[in-house]
Amino acid sequence: MAVGRKKISCPPYAEGTALSERDISERRVTIFEDHPNLVYSWTAGQAMSRFLNELKNGKLIATKCEKCGRIIFPPRIYCELCYKPIDGWVYVKDTGTVQTFSISYIDPDARPLEKPVIVAVIAVDGASPNMGIMHILGEVEPEKVYIGMRVKAVWKPENEREGAITDIKYWKPWRDEND
């Protein structure tokens, strides 16, 4: 199910009078600008702290619930379905299967990106079905991506990892050895 590059078309004009950058920078229109200084440092907690620290080791860790038998990824300290504490920790693999993907051509300000970004939801090997991670794909042309594609994490070098989800640079196409 390979998917080709989509053409995004914009209407050639819009009704009304557009505001230009200069209208704003030269204050030709009445505007009010504010840049709030809102800073937070979220406590990662028991589950996410362990997960982030394992990223530094180049590993993905999950928790397990023995009641429903699920391997819960990303980890949490409770099983949200059984509503009980988890029963332990277990490593999952850094390989998986693309469940869905999008080829994104523009940034949040609607400016074209230099290179399209391929965002994907990846079911991680070793975790229970439909559990995994949303991340980006790399080393692949957008038109080559498909649902069901096998992928593997590409990690930053160990000395550059900082315990963040970006310690994985991207996921690249991958063939199982026994394929």
Binding site: F32, D34, P36, N37, L38, V39, Y40, S41, W42, T43, A44, G45, Q46, A47, M48, R76, I77, Y78, E80, L81, C82, Y83
Partner: protein, 379 residues
């Protein structure tokens, strides 16, 4: 009428470096469900959380709550207000027949906020108020205090008494991180950081979560021998404009009137046995005592000095330690206050137990607001 059939909480602490906000919610919820003897996956019809996105630090907070409450694939909603507004929402859902058992949650992870003053400033009207000064917005409370003190001859000593009383009460509450044994003389030496407000009169922030299980009249009688009835709820707003708000806590007066009317309370100062009220700035306790009609505005200072509102006084106020002793719990403030009333009415308050049958909990939506809610509880 609906009743509280289970309570649980986590905290209260000055900081919670070991647990995420989701994990403190889970801890409080597990305790509440155990207390009520229910299974949230089967027995709860509706979950209500109370939160303000800018206190959380991310948007659409309500999307993040089901897992840790046992609310996956269940009716869940968030009220952008204090816990007591969530309690009123649960009350309405139950009385309207939508739910038989509803859960109310609020929490504070205030220690995650690094620029608290800026978050509060961000709640000010961006065109009309915010740009006037970049001073820490606690001055908004001081403006109100200045007006109120002058109008009703409230003494600095009476405000210091509030600090001394509440911090001492907190010493009997294992869940109150800001307890202390102080004197009025000591409190009056605290520097004016926002004249006429002293540093010691400002509640420090705290982390914690509170979860209540609320049940219909019929269901409450079925599942517990010790229901605490919600006799009345009320909420009210003045205006967001600092130039026209009353500075006399009209929001508290009107929301209390609404709750008292529901509860059939005609003479609050005689009929109410215990009160937990918003004291996030010490003068607010005095202002709120008057607004809740627990004392006259010209008597309140003398009564405060005489120990009338002390733990062993005629009308104990903030036996838990209040916000000055427990901390500013942001939108969970009313939850901590309701929790104390429920524990007291059940007779489970241990060393700080007060003899009581009717209690009132009140919370303000903090600066920069003139809004708040009240709940009346009874056994």
């Amino acid at each position: 009428m609906p009743a509280i059939v289970g309570v649980g909480y986590s905290g209260f602490n000055a900081n919670t470096p070991d647990l995420s906000w989701k994990e403190i919610m889970y801890e409080a919820a597990v305790r509440a469900y155990e207390d009520a003897g229910i299974d949230p996956r089967k027995d709860v019809d509706s979950f209500i959380t109370c939160a303000e996105d800018f206190y959380e630090g991310f948007a659409i907070f309500d999307e993040f709550v089901p897992d840790q409450l046992g609310a996956v694939l269940k009716p869940t909603c968030t009220v952008c207000a204090d816990f007591l507004y969530g309690l009123a929402t649960a009350y309405m859902q139950i009385e309207s027949g939508l739910a038989e058992i509803a859960v109310v949650e609020a929490h504070s992870k205030a220690s995650d906020i690094k620029t608290f003053g800026e978050v509060i400033r961000h709640a000010m009207d961006p065109i009309w108020l915010k740009g006037v000064t970049n001073a820490h917005p606690y001055y908004l409370a001081a403006l109100e205090m200045s007006y109120y003190m002058n109008k009703y001859c409230i003494t600095q000593e009476a405000i210091a008494e509030v600090v001394v009383k509440n911090k001492r009460n907190a010493l009997l509450n294992d869940s109150a991180p800001y307890g202390a044994k102080l004197t009025v003389e000591y409190a009056l030496k605290s520097p004016f950081v926002f004249y006429p407000m002293r540093k010691i009169e400002i509640a420090e922030r705290a982390d914690g979560a509170i979860v209540f299980v609320v049940a219909s009249d019929e269901m409450a009688r079925k599942i517990t021998d010790s229901p605490v009835w919600i006799k009345g709820v009320g909420w009210w707003s003045e205006t967001s404009n600092y130039d026209i708000m009353s500075f006399e806590a009209r929001y508290a007066y009107k929301s209390a009137k609404m709750a008292y009317r529901m509860a059939g309370i005609e003479n609050p100062s005689k009929e109410i046995d215990i009160a937990e009220i918003d004291d996030r700035f010490a003068f607010k306790e005095i202002q709120h005592i008057v607004a809740l009609q627990l004392a006259g505005k010209y008597d309140v200072c003398d009564l405060m000095s005489e120990g009338y509102f002390a733990r062993n006084g005629s009308l104990p106020v903030n036996v838990s330690g209040g916000n000055l002793g427990v901390g500013n719990l942001l939108e969970a403030t009313g939850g901590q206050k309701a929790l104390e009333i429920v524990i007291q009415l059940r007779g489970e308050a241990g060393r700080r137990q007060v003899d009581c049958e009717i209690g009132v909990a009140q919370a303000w939506r903090y600066i920069p607001t003139a809004s708040g809610a009240v709940a009346v509880f009874g056994v």
